[in-house]
């Protein structure tokens, strides 16, 4: 059984790992063989060197942007969940919000941050956090609203046969049923939160986050450092992904089996 588990683990982990290594090797080889100048595209080995040497720079910038994304992700998820539950009883609200959510997703809503920047002091991170919160809110809201509308018919008939109050039905059946949808929303919103936090920095304000550093250094001669910042962003993104999956694993244990199938 243990060998079988090891084998299935290897089957999941190995292919992407091999592909990733091959990609880096190909990149490195191409840059060396074609003699690409380091200020056009740096070698992966140089990026790694920059990442290690200037780790404290990358770290500081990652914390700034990561915090903005995290605060927005948590607040947006909470608001999305709570407001979806509160408005669930009123069909018109979800009918109103769904097209709104799609519109918000379609327009480059991140420009809102430009407006918000004028309302807060120059060194404030609040506009960026609000921006992330808004983006996350709609993703989570739409998922939770969907989950609340999809109930198991047998479970609902059972609750009715118990003469359960709407509140009991919500608490004991509909909310647990909605949790997998909520986490689908959070998992979708996690990388989005980071991207929005990054892009928000392009609209002015303190230039100490990953977004500002990337745009600043990628245009300079020190391209390797620019890519090191990108690597920092990628690591934060992976942490977000892993974190939201772990949270789902802990909160929705009954879904583990369904997902492993």
């Amino acid at each position: 059984m243990n060998t079988a588990r090891l084998r299935s683990l290897a089957a999941t982990v190995l292919p992407p790992l091999v592909l990733g290594v091959l990609f880096l090797v190909a990149w490195q080889t191409w840059v060396i063989v074609s003699d690409v100048q380091p200020f056009v595209i740096p070698r992966p080995s140089d990026i790694w060197k920059a990442f290690v040497n200037d780790f404290d720079l990358v770290w500081k910038a990652s914390v700034v942007t990561g915090m903005n994304a995290l605060v927005g992700l948590v607040l947006g998820s909470l608001f999305g969940f709570v407001i979806a539950v509160l408005t669930n009883r009123f069909l018109f609200v979800s009918e109103l919000v769904n097209p709104l959510a799609i519109t918000i997703a379609a327009i480059p809503a991140v420009v809102i941050v430009g407006v918000l920047n004028n309302m807060y002091s120059l060194d404030s991170q609040i506009p960026r956090r609000i921006m992330v919160t808004i983006s996350v809110f709609f993703v989570v809201f739409v998922q939770v609203a969907k989950g609340l509308r999809q109930n198991d018919a047998t479970q609902m008939e059972l609750m009715r046969s118990y003469a359960a109050s709407p509140f009991d039905t919500l608490k004991k059946v509909r909310l647990p049923n909605t949790m997998p949808f909520f986490f689908t929303g959070v998992r979708t919103a996690a990388p989005l939160a980071l991207i929005i936090a990054l892009v928000s920095e392009y609209f002015g304000g303190t230039q100490n986050g990953l977004g500002s550093k990337i745009s600043g250094t990628l245009n300079s001669a020190n391209k390797a450092l620019g890519f090191a910042y990108v690597l920092g962003g990628a690591i934060v993104g992976l942490l977000f992904f892993a974190g939201s999956n772990l949270l789902e694993y802990l909160v929705v244990p009954w879904r583990r089996r369904a997902r492993s199938k």
Binding site: T154, Q155, E157, S161, Y162, A163, A164, K172, V252, W254
Partner: protein, 275 residues
């Protein structure tokens, strides 16, 4: 065998002149049930059988007050069906076990008691009692997905019986099980209900199942849904695996089958007329 008390006490279920019409007055109007009269005695086991669309599940849901009749009345132990539901006077089981995936087996069984406001110690004790009744006492802490389909269905029955209801309503509860499990579950159900004196209304579309379980088989026909025949099974209460091979059993199976075939022939004739 028969408790003399039950003969003098009121009927378990009385269905009087019930009609159920969906989408009344609209183009998609469906006459699900018309002119339904049925009296069920306490402790009696009734099977409802008929082709799909005959309204047997609708009738069960009317008794359960999950639907309201268009006209007519339904009384359960002298109360209105609505009051009986509010008082949780009946237990119910469906084709899907409807177990709550996030609750352990024992907490699933406790849910109806929880909603009745029982305290935790009392609930736990009753859950254990029910698990012993369905012969799964060691599975209290398991989660539903760790059980086979047959075991899940037994937990659903344990849950339906948790508050010791006098009436059990079942909608094809064994429909999704394999034949062997199914026969085993039928025997178990008879044992459990006989021990507690529970009245059962059991919807099925399996003729042998209907006959093996029931004191009376109510045969229904579609378009509009109505009761066409009631077959007295009269195989006594002590039924076992030998019952399934007995001549009387086959005679009743044939009787029910012919009653159903009558519906089918009438239906075909009507089908031709319609064209």
């Amino acid at each position: 065998m028969e408790n003399p008390m039950t003969e003098t006490s009121q009927a378990a279920v009385v269905v009087r002149d019930v009609e159920k019409i969906f989408n009344q007055g609209k183009p998609n109007q469906v006459d699900a049930l018309v002119g339904i009269d049925l009296d069920i005695q306490p402790g009696e086991f009734i099977s409802l059988i008929g082709p799909s669309g005959c309204g047997k599940s609708t009738l069960l849901r009317l008794v359960a007050d999950l639907l309201e009749p268009t006209t007519g009345t339904i009384t359960i132990h002298g109360k209105s069906a609505h009051q009986a539901r509010v008082d949780q006077d009946y237990g119910m089981a469906f084709q899907q076990s409807g177990l709550f995936e996030w609750r352990s087996v024992e907490r699933n069984i406790e849910l109806p008691l929880e909603l009745k406001g029982w305290d935790k110690a009392k609930r736990r004790e009753r859950a254990q009692e029910m698990l012993e009744l369905v012969k799964l006492p060691e599975f209290a802490k398991h989660m539903p997905w760790q059980l086979s389909g047959g075991m899940q269905q037994r937990i659903a029955i344990a849950r339906a019986l948790a508050s010791h209801p006098k009436l059990l309503l079942m909608d094809e509860p064994f429909g999704a099980l394999d034949e062997m499990t199914r026969e085993h579950m039928q025997a178990e159900l008879l044992r459990i209900c006989a021990a507690a004196g529970t009245t059962v209304v059991f919807v099925t579309h399996s003729i042998p199942e209907a006959v093996y379980l029931a004191d009376r088989v109510v045969v229904m026909s579609p378009r509009p849904g109505r009761i066409t025949d009631i077959v007295d099974v009269g195989l006594g209460r002590d039924r076992n695996e030998l019952t399934r091979e007995a001549g009387d059993f086959f005679a009743r199976v044939t009787e029910v089958r012919e009653a159903l075939r009558g519906i089918e022939l009438a239906d075909q004739a009507r089908g031709i007329e319609d064209r």
